[in-house]
């Protein structure tokens, strides 16, 4: 996210009604840029080219389930927070999600809007922090290697 850009949130659910409802709610409460997808494979493609702050995905979907999608998100954009929003109260998939996909939050349907908003807000904060940390580490790396260069030059000059 550029400093002045709106945070981007992706909502993936094969049910159009879920996307419509969440979108209406977030529009009312926030200034987020919302990307809704009913087809997980399209969402997966979008992930490759568009940096996002949060990915919220349903679990049971045709062709590609939510965990596969979130695994893909982890691969493309490791810093983007991954949230599973599922009506399928299945402990096994929850455990799998937390362990293998590095889930940020596991939410169950029917969801609570305020809770969803809190989760998305803190997820955005976390992603932003992670990204700026990554930038700072990269800057430190550059500084470190240029220092090394200078050191080498100095050594060469004096020896």
């Amino acid at each position: 996210m550029a400093n002045n850009a709106k945070p981007a949130v992706m909502i993936v659910d094969d049910e159009d009604m879920v996307i419509t409802s969440i979108r209406a709610f977030l529009r009312l409460e926030t200034e987020y840029q919302i990307y809704g997808f009913t087809l997980p494979e399209e969402a997966a493609q979008f992930l490759e080219t568009h940096p996002l702050e949060v990915v919220v995905s349903d679990y049971l979907m045709p062709k590609m389930n939510g965990l596969d999608l979130l695994a893909k998100a982890k691969l493309c954009q490791p810093e983007a927070a991954r949230v599973l929003l599922t009506g399928h109260a299945d402990k096994q998939s929850a455990i799998h999600a937390i362990n293998d996909v590095g889930l940020y939050q596991y939410l169950e349907k029917p969801w609570d809007n305020q809770q969803l908003l809190l989760v998305i807000q803190s997820a955005i904060e976390r992603t932003t922090l992670l990204r700026s940390l990554k930038e700072k580490i990269a800057a430190l790396d550059t500084a470190h290697s240029s220092l090394k260069d200078i050191q080498a030059k100095l050594l060469r000059a004096f020896l």
Binding site: V18, T20, S21, A24, G87
Partner: protein, 275 residues
Amino acid sequence: MIDQPAQTGGPPRDAGAPSPDPRQVSELYRMAAVGRLTASVIHEINTPIGSIRSNNEVLVRSLETLVRLLREAIEKGTPPTQKAIEILETLSSLGSVDKIACERISAVIRGLKTFVRVNEDQIRKTDLNALLKDTLKLAGCEYRRRIQLVEEYGELPEVECFPHLLNQVFLNLLVNAGQAIEGEGTVTVRTRTEDGWAQVSISDTGKGILPEHRDRIFKAGFTTKPVGEGTGLGLAITREIVVDTHRGSITFDSEAGVGTTFHVRIPILHPRKRI
């Protein structure tokens, strides 16, 4: 209770175990079948409920905002802002979402209701096409969008039968059809009449029944499903309901890798009445 014919050629049972009352077994199995569907039914209902709940909250807050915008407009003597129109548009879209959501919930409940109707011991004249549609609503929870459903209903006269039992037969065959399909596929339901019989055919594009299993699938205790998923009772009870209780027939065609079709034939007039 159900008119039980002599048990000649009835389902084989464990020789050592005492024979339980077949009606009780059938009833327990019926409840277990609904139980197994519960997870999918919960999912099917939770999604629209989540939407309605969220929409309700948005509605309340939007109305507060609208009131504020309109008050401001009146105080300033200017027309309401564009924002007010946007809110109204959102609200009207949420209204149609709520309608769809309620219809979805009702359809699932209707399916459950016909299924768990308390044991009726009377033969009823039944519209099998309507009964199938309700059963499909339940099986559809399990299919989700993994499986495409094709419905080809022929014209059927009302059939004299025990509707809750045939419901069980169809649900059983539909769930089996879904389980036979790995990944995506199609389940086709066809109905037609022929010489005093109503025929319901349920086809899947699944893995097919292995030739060596074909003469055992209607036997109690036979299953190829993993423990916890299959009881080995489903097809035995299905056969019993169709053949013993309704004096009908059940047959199947199956080809490995192509799929399986079960044909259930029920006499339109229950034989008991013709005596």
